[in-house]
Symmetry: C2
Subunit: 225 residues, 2 copies
C-alpha cells in the first residue's frame, strides 16, 4: 500500500522504516523538504539529522505534507500533538478526504516542563478534534500508548502485549488492524468509536510515570483477561 | 493488623471480607450504622442489603466513620470519589493522623450519565487532595485500577498482572505493598510520590472503555517489560 507518514521525528522514522521493510511504498511528509534535508544537527529528541537516516533508507521518499498526502492511500499522523491540526491543514483536507488516517499523536503540553500534561480532559480527544476538523477523513486512533520502537516491533518484548484501535469507520479499523498484525501485534483490541480515544490518550499520564519508575520506555500494557 | 474500611459498597465489602479472611481485625465504617443495618433493599450497584452480607461475616464489626477510624491502625478509603473528602472529614483528622490511609477511590462524576468523566485533570488527583486536606495522614493510592473482586483475588485471572502504589511515605508504601502481596498481587509497581496518582486515576477512562469492549470488568493491566 502507498503510505504518507507525516513527521520526521522518532515516530515517523520508526513507522516509515518498518513500512518500507515490509514492502510498502512510503513517502515521509515534512513542512519543507529542502530545509529538512539541509539540517546537519540532531533534532530536539537527539535523533540524527534526517538526511543521515534517509541515506540508510533509500526506498523512502521525502515530500511536503501536501504532496505526500495527495499520493497516498493511507496517511499516518506522526507529528507532535500540539502541531497535528496545523500539519493536517497543510496536508490539505482535499488530499486527505476519503483516506484512512492513522493518528498516533498524543495531545501533550510540554510548556510547563516534565512531565508534560494533557491538552484535553476526558470529555474530548485529539483524535476527535482531527475528525471534526476533517470530516471526510477516516480517523483511526492507535499506537499512541507505547514507545516508537515497540509500535513496530512489539515482538522485542519478552511476551505478547496489547494495542488499541478507536474509530468510527469499521473498514478503516480493519485496514489498520491488519497493518498492526503485520508489525507483530498479536492482541489488537477494538475499543469502539473514536470517542474511546479519550481513554487511550489519557493513558499517557501513567505511561510517563511508568517510564520514570521503570527507567525505560520499553514496556507495554497487556490486558490480562 | 487493625483495619477500618470506610464504605459499605462493593469495594468496601471486597476489601473487608478479604482482610477478615486473612485474619486481620476489620471494622467497616459507615455514616450511620443503625441506618445501614436497617436497610432491606439492594444498594444502587445491586449489592444485597448490608445486614445480609454482615450475617455471613460475623467477625466484621460495623461502626461510624469516626469510631472505626479511631480504633484502626490502617484506614481504607473505599468510598466513592465524590464523597471521599466529606467522609474523611466525618472520620476526623484526629482519628486519621499518623495512620496509613489506603486510598482506592476514583474521582468520577456520574452526573452526566455513562461513561462517567474525571473530576480532576492530570494536574491534580484525589489522592493529593486527600493528602492536602489531611496532612498528618500517610496516603497511599493503590488498587483503583481494577475491579473489586480482582483487587483482593488477582489470582483468579489466567496470569499475573500489575498493581501500582503512589505515595510520599516510603514506610506506608511498604506496609501497603506487603498487604497487596497477601491479597495475591505478584507485581507491585512503586510509581513514586503521590503525584503519580494522577497517572493511575487517569487510567479510568480507558478502563471504562475496555469494560465496554470486552463485556466484563474482569481484566487487569499487566506491564510487560
Amino acid at each position: 500500500m502507498k503510505f504518507a507518514v507525516l513527521g520526521t521525528g522518532t515516530v515517523g522514522r520508526a513507522i516509515g522504516g518498518r513500512l518500507d521493510e515490509l514492502g510498502h511504498d512510503v513517502t515521509i511528509g515534512t513542512r519543507d523538504p529542502q530545509a529538512t534535508l539541509a539540517r546537519t544537527e540532531a533534532d530536539g529528541m537527539g535523533n540524527p539529522p534526517y538526511a543521515e537516516w534517509a541515506a540508510q533508507h533509500n526506498g523512502i521518499r521525502l515530500a511536503s505534507f501536501a504532496d505526500a498526502s495527495a499520493a497516498a492511500e493511507v496517511v499516518v499522523n506522526a507529528t507532535s500533538g500540539e502541531a497535528s491540526l496545523e500539519v493536517l491543514g497543510l496536508a490539505g483536507g482535499e488530499n486527505l478526504a476519503g483516506k484512512v488516517l492513522i493518528d498516533i499523536a498524543n495531545p501533550l503540553d510540554f510548556s510547563a516542563g516534565m512531565p508534560p500534561t494533557l491538552l484535553v480532559k476526558d470529555t474530548d480527544s485529539l483524535g476527535e478534534q482531527i475528525q471534526r476538523a476533517f470530516p471526510a477523513v477516516r480517523v483511526v486512533k492507535t499506537l499512541n500508548t507505547l514507545t516508537a520502537g515497540l509500535m513496530v516491533r512489539p515482538d522485542t518484548l519478552p511476551e505478547g502485549s496489547s494495542v488499541f484501535v478507536s474509530g468510527d469507520d469499521a473498514e478503516a479499523k480493519a485496514v489498520v488492524s491488519t497493518l498492526l498484525k503485520e508489525f507483530g501485534h498479536t492482541d489488537v483490541i477494538d475499543l469502539g468509536d473514536l470517542s474511546t480515544a479519550r481513554g487511550t490518550e489519557m493513558l499517557l499520564p501513567v505511561w510517563l510515570r511508568l517510564m520514570g519508575a521503570l527507567g525505560t520506555p520499553n514496556f507495554n500494557f497487556k490486558i490480562v483477561r
